[in-house]
């Protein structure tokens, strides 16, 4: 089965967007009720920085990829007789 790499990219963007939106909502909760302590602020900044590092590092790893290339997954054929 051939899957174009662009499908992986679309899936990745969708999943990442959901994770980031949920993370930002959590962040707003932490800021709203976190009593604005140094620990709370540090954790919030850390969350944003680590998320950015993961996303940016991923982008740098794949930015020059030819998205038209296909990724072949060979599924086992159950009709074949196993010797």
């Amino acid at each position: 089965m051939d899957i174009p790499l662009s499908a992986f990219l679309i899936g990745y963007v969708a999943v990442t967007a959901m994770i980031i939106i949920f993370g930002l909502l959590s962040l707003s909760q932490a800021l709203r009720f976190g009593m604005r302590t140094a620990v709370s602020q540090t954790m919030n900044v850390l969350f944003v920085i680590v998320t950015l590092i993961i996303v940016v590092a991923t982008w740098f790893a794949v930015w020059n990829v030819d998205w038209g290339t296909t990724f072949t997954i060979s599924l086992p054929s159950f009709s074949e007789k196993v010797p």
């Binding site: 990442t16 980031i20 962040l27 909760q29 009720f33 954790m43 998320t51 993961i54 990829v65």
Partner: protein, 203 residues
């Protein structure tokens, strides 16, 4: 943060926080360990595939490499989000003792939050319980505040300094009836009537 700088939603004017306590940090250790293990495991799996499977090669720009990079990135983002959720759940749970009441703040997941109040003059007894080796070693336990009337008991699990907290609660609870604690401002503003002021208007 100093206690006089602390505040919480619904705090009354003139209310003073005496104790602000969060759960014991040892509870976060298991979450950190989980994060570390789940971060390392995929790297170990890929390493073993790479070492023991001659057909498994990771070339820059190859479809397999791209798929693994994107999948791995989404996986690590999910792990990091999960850890952040755990931290929020841990950090936003708090026990507060003020000069008027006990406040229990319970964060349940990310978007559910329960804040309960217990006026000091309703307190009947405070029980402290430390069970097991780990809680004894690290010095945390359960505080149960028994209340007067039909109101359910206030239970605070896995909090440190339980004996000091118990002593403080009992001390302030003893003083409470003599201090003549006023009704919370939130209650008076809800009904629109201030009981401390006589009603005004034309007869």
């Amino acid at each position: 943060m100093k206690l006089h700088q602390a505040s919480f939603p619904g705090m009354h004017q003139g209310e003073v926080i005496i104790i602000l306590q969060r759960r014991h940090w040892v509870l976060m250790v298991s979450k950190v360990l989980r994060l570390v293990v789940l971060t390392v495991v995929p790297a170990i799996v890929v390493f073993f595939f790479y070492t023991y499977n001659a057909n498994f090669t990771l070339e820059v720009g190859a479809p397999l490499t791209v798929a693994l990079t994107l999948g791995g990135s989404a996986y690590f983002l999910f792990l990091w989000l999960l850890f952040f959720q755990d931290w929020i759940d841990f950090y936003l749970d708090a026990f507060l003792l003020t000069n008027e009441r006990i406040v229990r703040i319970e964060q349940q997941g990310t978007f559910n939050r329960v804040v309960s109040h217990l006026p000091l003059d309703r307190i009947q007894d405070v029980t402290v319980e430390t069970r097991g080796i780990i809680s004894t070693l690290f010095g945390y336990g359960t505080i149960t505040v028994e209340t007067a009337g039909e109101q359910e008991n206030f239970v605070f699990r896995n909090f440190p300094n339980v004996n000091a907290i118990q002593a403080q609660i009992l001390m302030y609870a003893k003083q409470a009836p003599r201090m003549g604690i006023e009704k919370p401002a939130a209650e008076t503003s809800r009904t629109g009537v201030n009981p401390s002021k006589p009603p005004t208007g034309t007869a």
